[in-house]
Amino acid sequence: MSDIQAIPLPGQPSTLSFHLSEEHHPQHGTLLGFWLYLMSDCLVFACLFAVYAVLGRNYAGGPTGAQIFELPVVALNTAFLLLSSITYGFAMLEMQRNGKRAMLAWLAITGLLGACFLFLELREFGHLIAIGAGPQRSAFLSSFFTLVGTHGLHVTFGIVWLVTLMVQVGKKGLIAENKRRLMCLSMFWHFLDVVWIGVFSFVYLMGVLP
């Protein structure tokens, strides 16, 4: 067993060298890795969308989408999320300019818009459960709560992350590490907006169609 290891071949240096200096090292390994995480998250949402596509019309004699969805509220929610996307974009522009205070202000606005979105969504969930249209009522409502709730959970953790980064930037300033983290959160936040496009189109708008 032990005679396999560490026999230096003739003509080779005895110390191990990996020639790392000549390898092409990816410049943004973290950003690429985070992108891969987002893509796997995308598959999670694809499965939940597939579940909703299969079960979305199984009302089990309960309320239908046309009866319970309030499109004006959904439109307001969509506006909140879209606005939060553009304000995060403004924060990124300020970050490039090293404008720390302006960036923190834009981040705070982004977080507030995200909180408004969550508030409206939770209010809708609470209303549905109060009128007896909770997740256990029908297959349609189970898949609806799972899909929309998972998105809401992502937004919640996005806000937690955003507040964390605001504290970190406030303490350490716009150092390279914080910029990298802010760029990861930027991808996360915009990705959530892309998922929401699917939710409002596929679940809400198509759900109220006869």
Partner: protein, 126 residues
């Protein structure tokens, strides 16, 4: 102007990946996204089309276009970012998403169709 930008990128060795995001890009994306959001809501809330299937097709088509707009202007996707690995991962994911969605809908539709109560002999069930 663009030559200056390229020189800037080369000189700093890509020290931040979002160096090409501009106010103009974000505003273009935002205006396009707002229009592409408003149209489907208007179509559904005012009932422009008689047939639901027409509305559904238009809503889904606009959603796909809006997703592409977000990818380009907000997520800064292009074929060159991360040496093409971003795009490769995205294409792979899209293939998986299409297989998952279309496969589930297709299979489950036929399952529903073939398992209608009228087609089953109730007496033969245990």
């Amino acid at each position: 102007m663009s030559a200056h930008t390229e020189h800037h990128d080369d000189g700093h060795g890509h020290d931040d990946g979002a160096s090409h995001s501009t106010l103009k890009g974000y505003m273009t994306g935002f205006v396009l996204a707002a229009i592409l959001t408003a149209i489907p809501f208007w179509l559904v809330m005012t009932g422009q089309f008689e047939k639901s299937s027409t509305t559904a097709a238009v809503v889904l088509g606009l959603a796909a276009v809006q997703m592409i707009v977000h990818m380009i202007y907000f997520l800064h996707m292009d074929a060159k970012s991360q040496g093409g690995w971003n795009m490769l991962a995205l294409i792979f994911t899209l293939v998986m998403v299409v297989i998952t969605l279309s496969g589930s809908i297709w299979v489950m539709y036929h399952l529903d169709h073939n398992m209608m109560p009228s087609m089953m002999d109730v007496k033969s069930l245990p």
